[in-house]
């Protein structure tokens, strides 16, 4: 079983998280920019409410066995130093039923992703 981890993080933390994932041995990731707000309903500065705050979405697909480790890596890196702050982001986890590599046309299995021939 493979797991898709989509994390919404601060844009300024994106490079650090990407480097941490690389060091942790999970190089494969897709990044795109998004805008959104959370439970705090955006940021209110004076009379102006900013409710479309720029964020970065990172998507990576990993083995179910590595799920907790990857989530912990992203969380530790993306959290504002100390105990964290509003706006640090969210991590969403969903199941992936099937996964294919286009260049080889091969259907990935959990065993193949671990480097064991399927």
């Amino acid at each position: 079983m493979m797991i898709m981890i989509r994390s919404i993080i601060r844009p300024e933390k994106a490079d650090a998280v990407l480097a941490a994932l690389m060091d942790a041995g999970f190089p494969a990731v897709t990044k795109y920019s998004v805008a959104g707000r959370g439970k705090q309903r955006g940021i209110k500065i004076g009379d102006v409410t900013y409710d479309e705050i720029p964020k970065v979405m990172l998507m990576s697909v990993v083995n179910a066995a590595d799920k907790d480790f990857v989530i912990q890596t992203i969380m530790d890196t993306a959290r504002t130093k100390g105990k964290g702050a509003f706006g640090d982001g969210k991590i969403f986890v969903s199941e992936v039923e099937e996964s294919y590599t286009i260049s080889s046309g091969v259907k990935e299995t959990a065993a193949a992703a671990e480097g064991v021939p399927a």
Binding site: M4, A19, S33, I102
Partner: protein
């Protein structure tokens, strides 16, 4: 119903769009994205470019370079999944690293905003 998420090369978008239409998937959305895979891509191919090489290389960053990609998301019926995956692979396959990935994620429900229809009806 299933959500088919594909990461493909940006210069393959036109062919992919045409092929998806031909196989009966008219509705999808695309997103500009950057990504990296297992890291087997040869960056020296960029050096052949005459213009914009420096800017392109700078955008890629130092560690674990990210390459510009397109993220396609299509919501299709269960019976269409095999056809869609086959189409995307056939069109995008060059055999070199960096062709992209296709993921299939189960989806609980969908709603068409215009009519309020739910389930299979909302995506047909």
């Amino acid at each position: 119903m299933k959500e088919v998420i594909a990461v493909v090369r940006i210069n393959m978008m036109n062919q992919t769009k045409q092929a998806l239409t031909d196989c009966g998937v008219d509705a999808f959305f695309a997103h500009e994205a950057q990504g990296r895979g297992k890291g087997f891509v040869n960056t020296h191919i960029l050096e052949g470019a005459e213009q914009g090489y420096v800017e392109a290389a700078a955008l890629l960053g130092e560690k674990g370079k990210l390459y510009p990609k397109r993220l396609l998301t299509a919501v299709v019926e269960d019976s269409m999944v095999d056809c869609v995956v086959e189409t995307i692979i056939n069109v995008n396959q060059t055999g070199k690293p960096g062709d992209g990935k296709v993921f299939i994620v189960p989806l609980a429900d969908a709603v068409r905003v215009r009519t309020g229809e739910t389930g299979e009806k909302s995506i047909v």
